[in-house]
Symmetry: C2
Subunit: 146 residues, 2 copies
Amino acid sequence: MARAVQDLQDATDLIDELAARRLGVNRTDVRCLSRLTARGPLTASELASGAGLTGGAATTAIDRLERAGLAERVRDTADRRRVLVHLSERGRAAVEEVWGPIAAEAQAGLRRYTVAELEVVETFLRLALLNQTRHAERLRKDNAEE
Amino acid sequence: MARAVQDLQDATDLIDELAARRLGVNRTDVRCLSRLTARGPLTASELASGAGLTGGAATTAIDRLERAGLAERVRDTADRRRVLVHLSERGRAAVEEVWGPIAAEAQAGLRRYTVAELEVVETFLRLALLNQTRHAERLRKDNAEE
DNA sequence: CCCAATTGATTCAATAATCTAAGGATTAGA
DNA sequence: TCTAATCCTTAGATTATTGAATCAATTGGG
């Protein structure tokens, strides 16, 4: 079972790599695209913490995405220190082109499952997440108290 | 459901990051450690392709792991061009310390599931993998024929 | 048995990405 | 209004990866 999870993760990793090449950006930028798709427009710092980057790295990542025409900076009118990062129309289309079909087929596959079965799978995933989160906490604490 | 999978992946990612810090190596090195743990001693080139690295990158990654005391180079006596990379005793212990408890608890969690339920989950994961693999192929082809 | 071709690993220079720290602009609070 | 805090950017140093060249060992055809 652990192996099945691992294999799935490796495959996802591979797809990210291929998607990066396809879009002409790097893996970090793909991670940012994914965040932006999932969580709507984000400020530079939200994107940074979401993608596990420092501020400086986020700035250059956004630069690259902007240069690639996949995202756009929009100054927040309410607080002009902030920069909101939006997916551009082209960015949205690119994301759809790469991940749309994957999501669609996954969705289709789910239709063969009964509600009870879906429940089992989802609970499994949530428990696994809980386990990981608990241990992430343990590691964070261990790292802190060196 | 897609969200549950995504969340789990993010959490795994976070753990890799924390583990890297804990062990004093980088993410690439953690990927190598994971490969070495899962697939036993590997030659430098097997490790390279397994971890998605070029030859040069693999060499320096092994250098770092060796310097950190986590792995060891062993010249293959049968074919002396080859270098087998083994986890060191300390490497094995470090992997166990970080991932052992996670695996143990995951294993324990699985015991609450019936055989039928496990079957459902495993099939789900395999189908998801299949879907990803199919689309990885699509992307690879698209990239190739540019 | 030898030599050319191949294979495996390493080295090195160039490139790319990241980090940290400092700086500039804006906002919020006293 | 002045000060501190916040947000993003910039710049220099560090780190990692790539791709090509190199060295060593092996293999196979003649």
